[in-house]
Amino acid sequence: MIAYNRTSLDNLSINEAVVTAFDQQLISKEDTGAIIKAYPVNMYMPNVFIRIGLFLLTTVIVVMVYGFLLMAEIGGSEKGLGVLTFIFSLVLYGALEFIIREKKHYRSGIDDALLWLCIIALIAAANLVFSGITGLANAVLVFIPAFYFLLRFGNAVMGALAFAALLTIIFYSITPLGNIPKTIMPFLLMAIAFFVYWLAIKFSTDNRVRYYKHCCTLIEILALIILYAAGNFFVVREVSNSLFDLQLQEGESVPFGWIFWIPTVLFPAVYIFRGIQKRDVILLRTGLILVAAIIFTIRYYYHVAPIEIAMSIGGAIMILLAYFITKYLTPAKHGFTHAEPNDPGLAGLLQVESIIVAQTFHQTPTAEPDKHFDFGGGSGGGAGSTGNY
């Protein structure tokens, strides 16, 4: 089913494991070189920045070619353009298959771009040909190609898209059925999210679906977040209020709304606990992020303290928490460490971190225009300064 060459994919995963071991200085350079030679990867996989560039440029080319179609269809009907767009999306799909089979592209940016533009063209074509498509029909329209692309190309984002479309289909097809389905909707969505999470966990180590490992990871994260969101008090109250037209007043809640405070507060704690217990990065990190969701949900309905006091105290608690964990884990305990993982692939993260720091903490006032120091001895700054003494 997968479009890429299977031997190359298998060899790629061997190479990745070996390079990781080499980075951790477990195996020698000669061994690493020999293994990579014995298991060659015959695929075109450029560096990530080149991939970004190829993605953007491919998009430019495809949009410009589509521009020719638009020029040809000036004055034509919407339906005619829809048919042309449909043919265009088929051509894009052909190009995608060609570039993978003949040119051996694998996540090169070009195949990513063609994949995305193909699905966008397909959905646009359907909406142009049949005007007035419902939300449910559009969800089905997204789900079918996304699911196919997931199977065919093992693309993680397509997997996430298919999952989201599936949930939308379920939501739209159940809501018209009456009040009881509406009431159990959060529980139904939670059950589905949990089931999908369980499936992803179960199959993430299965050798038969090894080409879909990346997809499993992203779907795991998404399923955990949806499992939480479906039971979150804020989401349940506000979504019910706006979609089912309940017209709740401030302070009012959906019937038995208090039940949703339990998962709102409990789930992140469970995620973190299980994450630590099972040494599961995904559970742990999702849990930590969702702690923020708890705080926002509570603060939205109960004004515990003015924002600045809450921020200061929260910030201080977090700093202290980090301090005590660092102290507790020096030296490493129970298989946990606070030391940096020895992975050259993460070296770029330090650069990203420093840029984020500069972006968020640049609180120094930019020199006011009339006071700033001028390069080239500008007269404005010099003259103004004398007056101020």
Partner: protein, 328 residues
């Protein structure tokens, strides 16, 4: 660690026995690192704390009094620097690792409170006068000193944004286009000078081997402001817009050389995109001015298809060329 895989490789004679032993041992004693989790918690904590304290002071300035606030900020700042000074590893001109991630962020907190302290003194008492932007200049010098003394990339980035602010240019990634008034020729030239200066500092640090790992940070800021200023000049000065291709070409050429020397693909992507925007602007504008019928649109579409294909070929070639210098 995939043990069966390594055992298979060992059986095939591709892996030596000690290597297999190493892998097995490592898999048995694998530690779970919470390094980035702790860093994120610390980062958010400091962001919240400094933000919260800022609002707190702003709201209660009348009841607390300036001296008390200054004393509190000063104490916090002194505490942070005291901790960092005690924990830091000895200074060296090469890369010095931080003792732990907590240290990194306490240093950051110290620098932030120090900058706040100075800004506060300036706003309240105009302690540094109004001449020569001293109020921005002094924090900048302190930040640069701390960045080198404690070896901290985040503080260095803050120092560079401060240097840019002193020159009148906003350089932080999300503000670089919006916050600068590029209609002002002074900003454009300040941006050019700043970009060249940062590139020069980067070159010198790498050449003299003084904190050579700071090179990328300098180049990143310098490259972006240099390219954006050149493009802004091109868009702004109507009469001789093609002339701006000269500084653009010079920058592309210089960073191309640096990319080849350092093996950073990031430089290649940036120079390709900025250069492409510049050339496309000049060509499209020339086409629009010289022709006046509908055929122009077809020509522009054709130009973009052809030129984007050319850049794709260029990027692929560069990928091949630079891959040769890759790690293994």
């Amino acid at each position: 660690m995939n043990i069966p895989l390594f055992e298979r490789l060992y059986k095939e004679g591709l892996l030596s026995a000690p290597s297999l032993q190493n892998v097995k041992q490592k898999a048995g004693s694998k530690l779970f690192s919470v390094h980035w989790e702790l860093k994120t918690i610390l980062y958010l904590g400091i962001l919240l704390l400094t933000g919260g304290l800022g609002i707190l002071i702003y709201k209660n300035i009348d009841t607390i009094g300036h001296q008390v606030i200054l004393a509190a900020i000063g104490l916090l700042c002194a505490g942070c620097f005291f901790y960092c000074e005690r924990k830091k590893l000895p200074f060296a001109t090469t890369k010095v690792p931080a003792p732990n991630s907590f240290f990194d962020y306490i240093l950051l907190l110290g620098c932030l409170t120090l900058v706040t302290f100075i800004t506060y003194l300036q706003v309240q008492y105009i302690a540094f006068g109004r001449a020569y932007g001293l109020a921005t200049f002094i924090p900048m010098v302190i930040l640069f000193f701390c960045a080198y003394y404690f070896d901290h990339l985040g503080v260095l980035s803050m120092a560079i944004t401060n240097l840019a602010a002193w020159a009148g240019v906003a350089i932080t990634p999300l503000n670089i286009v919006n916050a600068n008034n590029f209609a002002d020729a002074k900003i454009i030239f300040a941006g050019l000078v700043l970009g060249v200066a940062l590139a020069a500092i980067a070159w010198a640090s790498q050449r003299r081997n003084i904190k050579a790992h700071f090179e990328f940070t300098y180049v990143n800021f310098g490259m972006n402001i240099l390219f954006i200023s050149s493009l802004a000049g091109m868009f702004q000065f109507d009469n001789f817009y093609p002339l701006w291709l000269l500084p653009l070409a010079a920058a592309v050429f210089y960073f191309y050389k640096r990319a080849i020397a350092t093996g950073f693909f990031y430089y290649i992507l940036m120079l390709a995109l900025y250069g492409y925007i510049g050339i496309s602007y000049v060509i499209v504008r020339f086409l629009i001015v010289s022709m006046r019928d509908l055929g122009i649109i077809y020509l522009i579409l054709l130009y973009f298809i052809g030129s984007a294909t050319a850049i794709i070929v260029f990027l692929s070639r560069m990928n091949k060329k630079m891959k040769l210098h890759d790690r293994i």
